[in-house]
Amino acid sequence: MDDDEAVTRALAGDLDAYEVLVTRYSAVAHRTASLLGAADEAQDVVQEAFVKAFRHLKGFRRGSSFRPWLLRIVANETHDLTRSRGRRSDLAVRLGREREPYGPGDPGDPESAAVDADGRARLLEAVRALSDGEREAVVCRYFLQLSEAETAEVLGVRLGTVKSRTFRALRRLREEVGREHFG
């Protein structure tokens, strides 16, 4: 069952069809909520978003893509949450430990691995230090690997805004990481 058919059936009240959509997009929804700052409340945010999406399914423009439409609701829920908690919508993540980051040159070389891991940590810190708007653009474009158009829809901003925020964010990251690199 593709998204369009699932939406059609869900609109007719078929909850099995809606379960298909929830199952399909659960992972990316959780990831989006976490990356936009929901922290340990990501599960709550995601459930809420799916319930709201169902209720507002009539507002979904048929023929467009379901994923960014849903993720926008997730993003809005996350924003509401962080705002109501009075906290910054920080990146609720840490560097993974499961996969040891080995350097490209000499995998297995502990020194190279350490340098590389250090670089990633610095890059993550630099992303964290971006303004909310720039960080969210980076999160959507690179961490979630959404297109510019999808990013615009998810964040509820114009395409040009996505482009300029991404551009500024990359420039800043380059400055930060570059300075560290040579410093």
Partner: protein, 249 residues
């Protein structure tokens, strides 16, 4: 340090690749199996949405300063008839742990106020220690003349002569259930809440999931949320209610 890419460590495309790689290595809070999420969502939909919370919506985006000043507009979730169809078309308004059914109310209930589960009289300090949320006191009213703590710290009731202020954990589930006829409650921007101008039926929904308590008649009531706390203020008229609500810190 001399790695091979020292000369141009941050070429644009390289930075973008590094960001994508970084994204794939980020560890997040554990995610439940999608099938579990689907089941939970379905249960909530079938349930009519118990557990909904209402938080400030992102319809417009206040600056952080404005948001911090707690002027954020709260728009309640407005649910129409579900696709499954409901017997009567009743608008359901859910805000801060209060579920309001508008339009389907019969005659006003005849029940008299009964204590909430485990309700006991406490001091303000005891209420603060025992409540599951920070207890707010409206400065416009000063120290309450009576304080009650109920249902394992889920509800704190502050009383002044002619005024009742219930505070409750407004983030999870439904704490109060209200039945009213038209008119639809009036949204008030000042505190981001809803004003119910008429007498109506109210019942308490216990935290243990038990059956709602007997319905009683409530007078005109203001419902709003302050931070994570749901509040219902009963007794004062509209103007006074706004004044009191605005003084909650």
């Amino acid at each position: 340090m001399s790695t091979s890419d020292d000369r141009d460590p941050i070429a644009p495309e390289d930075l973008e690749t590094r960001l994508r790689d970084l994204g794939e290595e980020l560890a997040m809070a554990p995610v439940p199996p999608p099938a579990d999420v689907a089941r939970a969502v379905r249960a909530r939909i079938e349930d009519g949405g118990a557990g909904d919370r209402v938080r400030p919506r992102a319809a417009w985006r206040p600056s952080p300063r404005v948001a911090a000043a707690a002027v954020a507009v709260l728009t309640a979730v407005l649910l129409g008839a579900t696709p499954q169809g409901r017997a009567a078309v009743v608008s359901v308004l859910r805000i801060a742990g209060v579920e309001i059914h508008v339009g389907g109310a019969g005659p006003l209930p005849t029940g008299v106020p009964s204590p909430l589960p485990g309700e006991r009289r406490v001091t303000l300090e005891e209420a603060r220690r025992g409540a599951r949320f920070p207890v707010a006191v409206p400065s416009a009213l000063g120290e309450p003349s009576d304080v009650r703590l109920a249902d394992g710290g889920r509800v704190v009731t502050l009383l002044w002569p002619g005024v009742r202020l219930d505070e409750f954990d407004g983030t999870l589930g439904v704490v109060w259930h209200k039945e009213l006829g038209e008119p639809f409650p009036e949204q008030v921007g000042v505190v981001g809440g809803w004003w119910i101008p008429r007498s109506h039926g109210v019942s308490y929904v216990p935290g243990d999931g038990g059956a709602p308590r007997e319905e009683r008649v409530a007078g005109p009531t203001l419902i709003w949320q302050h931070k994570l706390v749901g509040l219902r203020l009963e007794g004062p008229d509209r103007v006074e209610a706004m004044r009191i609500a605005s003084s909650v810190r």
